[in-house]
């Protein structure tokens, strides 16, 4: 059993997101070997993989929960914790490293007051490290909310992070 760190919330019946997930599971005929595909779909729909969600998937695919939890924790792409509103993915591939990605790393950590792999306490910004996003021609690179920013400088990174930080809270967010 996974450690129950979060208090399980009851899923309101008729949550449309589960309908989407069910559709993804049916598409793969509830086959156990489609587990990674289903986890991708689930993370896409829910944003992260909550413990209850893993239980749900394990039952739907008729797999032991240990298998589902094992796979979800093995792969870096899956996250079991919610992410911030914005994500700053810094590439730390070799080309970016040679071109000074670690300076950007320090600047970003200083600016957000959290380490990479963490989310700011106000849930606004998640700092994430990627091994290589494959845009080495324009190194150093960061991916800001799915948009690739090339030839980044520490100052440029801080500027964008500050813009996110100072963003006014929206009720609909």
């Amino acid at each position: 059993m996974p450690p129950t760190t979060t208090t399980p919330k009851p899923h309101p019946s008729g949550d449309n997101r589960f309908k989407l997930l069910d559709r993804a599971i049916t598409k793969h005929q509830s086959r156990g070997d489609a587990l990674i595909e289903v986890l991708h779909a689930a993370q896409g729909i829910f944003g992260y993989l909550e413990n209850d969600l893993l239980v749900y998937i394990a039952r739907a695919l008729k797999l032991p929960l240990s298998r589902v939890y094992g796979v979800a924790t093995f792969y870096h792409f899956f996250t079991l914790k919610p992410k911030g509103k914005h994500t700053f993915v810094l590439c730390t591939g070799t080309a970016c490293y040679v071109k000074g990605a670690n300076k950007i790393q320090h600047a970003a950590e200083e600016c957000c007051k959290v380490k990479f792999g963490q989310t700011t306490p106000d849930d606004k910004i998640s700092l994430v490290q990627a091994r290589c996003v494959g845009s080495c021609g324009i190194a150093p690179v960061a991916v800001l909310d799915d948009k690739v920013a090339g030839k980044l400088t520490p100052e440029g990174a801080v500027e964008r992070l500050m813009a996110w930080k100072n963003e006014k809270d929206e009720v609909t967010a």
């Binding site: 093995f74 792409f77 070799t94 040679v98 290589c132 494959g134 021609g137 324009i138 690179v141």
Partner: protein, 549 residues
């Protein structure tokens, strides 16, 4: 779809393209898109509409044109003029000056006789920058699927295997095993069900060759896999592609759909008895899944952990069935080999390493981007002629090939020919094709530490030498870098590296110490400068307790 239908389709598309007086090709690969090539496209279209040229000039999004560091790139056909750093103003100028008043935009024009272009030889990347990756018709117009048609209608499976073997093609994933021999083994195994798998889990940091091929010419991979399926007797193929490449995934999905619609994948291909389907499997960010047995486990929906070999996947692979596993670039070479013949291919490169190799050139170098060169070219030519050397004021120090499994090649070995054997003789490997240039500002102990940090994180934890060894090597390097290590630590580091290399289960652990060993071999002085004389004996690594993965 018959062979005649295919030819008709090709002619139709050629005629359609000939109707245009000019074709504006903008680079729609990930690098240029992130520099704003989509805005450039919109501006080109807008300017064309304003000049009433929209009907006679076509705007086409293509795969990577190579010079990624100078993007966004736009090529004007049929002249072949190439423009760099195109923003919206330049885009407008291209239409108003180049197309209307016929004067090229001098400031942004790239001299295509520059060695960056002249020294290259394109086979794998021949269609990148030439066709719209999202239109199957454009691929068919440049002889796409002609090789598959020929194989299915005219050749016996054994002949196909023999043709590939004679070409001398070797696995482009890095290990360099003969592709023809591998195909032969899978073909000979008796089984009703076999699989063909394409390894597109390009995990090496600093490598983006496979991504560019998948984004720029996805049909070439499908064709190569279908030919492989026919040759070995498989009916099902899988492409395992990284989740970090959303654009490649999108284009592959589209390509598979288009090929199925035209009957180039599916049942009775070209009215023969041959059936072949391809499915996509998305990775989830695990470097170890580039290892073949781990990749197979991952396709089965499990944790991507390697298992001991033998049995090799060619005997017992996916779901216990014989499985042919090749890299993206290997499959990309298949269609040209069938089309132009094995003799043509074998004449390129060196006798033992035939054909070309794609490299992703990056780091401290002037021309960064994607290049394809004949095997056997000297490293000096790649770095100084094609790459234009290091930026002003710095000196070339080393070229790193093979990612975390490779090594650093110092300036003294710049004349080494780039082929499988020569690179391993200088302590590096061909690898999948990442080439990072380092200049005098790079500290080699730091570089070694960087790669060990990578391997430590990516070790799957199954075997102890890799799981524990990488942590300890990293700890030792950390001590050395901080100046806390003594002269006793260097032999210890070497001993540990050899131990991890010799006793690890899979390629990840076996090659993880390579960057350390190669920097120790060529830049030992940088390590020694940081060492102190031992005062009293302190057991090494005690300040970095082993952590479990």
């Amino acid at each position: 779809m018959t062979v005649e239908d295919l030819q008709e389709l090709a002619e139709q598309e050629q005629q359609r393209q000939e109707k245009f007086t000019n074709r504006l090709m903008y680079c729609a690969a990930a690098g240029c898109v992130s520099c704003g090539s989509i805005n450039v496209r919109d501006m080109l279209k807008k300017a064309l509409a304003e000049k009433n040229l929209a009907a006679t000039v076509e705007v086409v999004g293509t795969g990577c044109m190579g010079l990624c560091g100078e993007g966004p790139l736009v090529k004007v056909l049929p002249e072949g003029t190439l423009y760099q750093r195109v923003d919206e103003t330049v885009a407008r100028k291209i239409v108003e000056e180049h197309l209307v008043t016929k004067t090229p935009v001098k400031d942004n024009e790239i001299d295509t006789s520059h060695p960056f272009f002249a020294e290259q030889m394109k086979i794998v990347l021949e269609n990148c920058g030439r066709i719209d990756a999202e239109k199957i018709e454009e691929y068919i117009a440049v002889e796409g699927y002609a090789a598959l048609a020929r194989v299915v209608t005219e050749m016996q499976p054994a002949e196909v295997v023999e043709e590939v073997r004679k070409s001398g093609l070797r696995g482009r994933g890095g290990a360099g095993y003969s592709t023809g021999l591998k195909w032969g083994i899978v073909r000979k195994v008796q089984s009703d069900t076999k699989y063909v798998v394409c390894n597109a889990d390009e995990g090496d940091p600093g490598a983006f060759m496979d991504r560019s091929v998948l984004e720029g010419d996805p049909h070439r991979i499908l064709e190569g896999m279908a030919i492989a399926g026919y040759a070995v007797g498989a009916q099902q193929g899988y492409i395992y592609v990284r989740a970090e490449y959303p654009l490649a995934i999108e284009r592959l999905r589209l390509a598979i759909k288009q090929a199925e619609r035209l009957g180039l994948l599916g049942n009775r291909i070209f009215d023969s008895q041959f059936n072949f389907r391809i499915d996509l499997r998305i990775g989830a960010g695990a470097f170890v899944c580039g290892e073949e047995t781990a990749l197979i486990r991952s396709i089965e929906g499990r944790r991507g952990r390697p298992r001991p070999r033998p049995p090799y996947p060619s005997e017992k692979g996916l779901w216990g069935m014989p499985t042919l596993l090749n890299n993206v670039e290997t499959y990309a070479n298949i269609a040209p080999i069938i089309r132009k013949g094995s003799t043509w291919f074998a004449a390129i490169g060196t006798p033992k390493s035939t054909g070309t190799k794609v490299f992703a050139l990056a780091g401290k170098i002037r021309n960064t981007g994607l290049i394809e060169v004949p095997m056997g070219i000297s490293l000096r030519k790649i770095v100084f002629d094609i790459g234009g050397g290091t930026p002003e004021g710095t000196e070339f120090k080393a070229a790193q090939t093979g990612g975390p499994s490779g090594g650093c090649i110092p300036a003294a070995h710049l004349d080494v020919p780039v082929d499988y054997e020569s690179l391993s003789s200088v302590g590096s490997i061909m690898g999948s094709g990442g080439m990072i240039v380092m200049d005098s500002t790079s500290n080699m102990v730091d570089v070694a530490k960087y790669f060990m940090d990578f391997c430590k994180d990516e070790s799957c934890g199954k075997c102890i030498p890799c799981r524990v060894g990488t942590v300890h090597i990293h700890g030792l390097l950390e001590r050395i870098a901080q100046g806390k290590a003594t002269t006793n630590d260097l032999p210890l580091l070497e001993e540990l590296c050899m131990m991890v290399k010799e006793t690890s289960l899979c390629g990840l652990g076996q090659s993880a110490p390579n960057p350390v060993l190669s920097t120790l071999r060529f830049f030992r002085n940088e390590y020694e400068e940081l060492l102190q004389e031992p005062a009293t004996f302190v057991p090494s690594g005690t300040d970095t307790p082993p952590t479990t993965h």
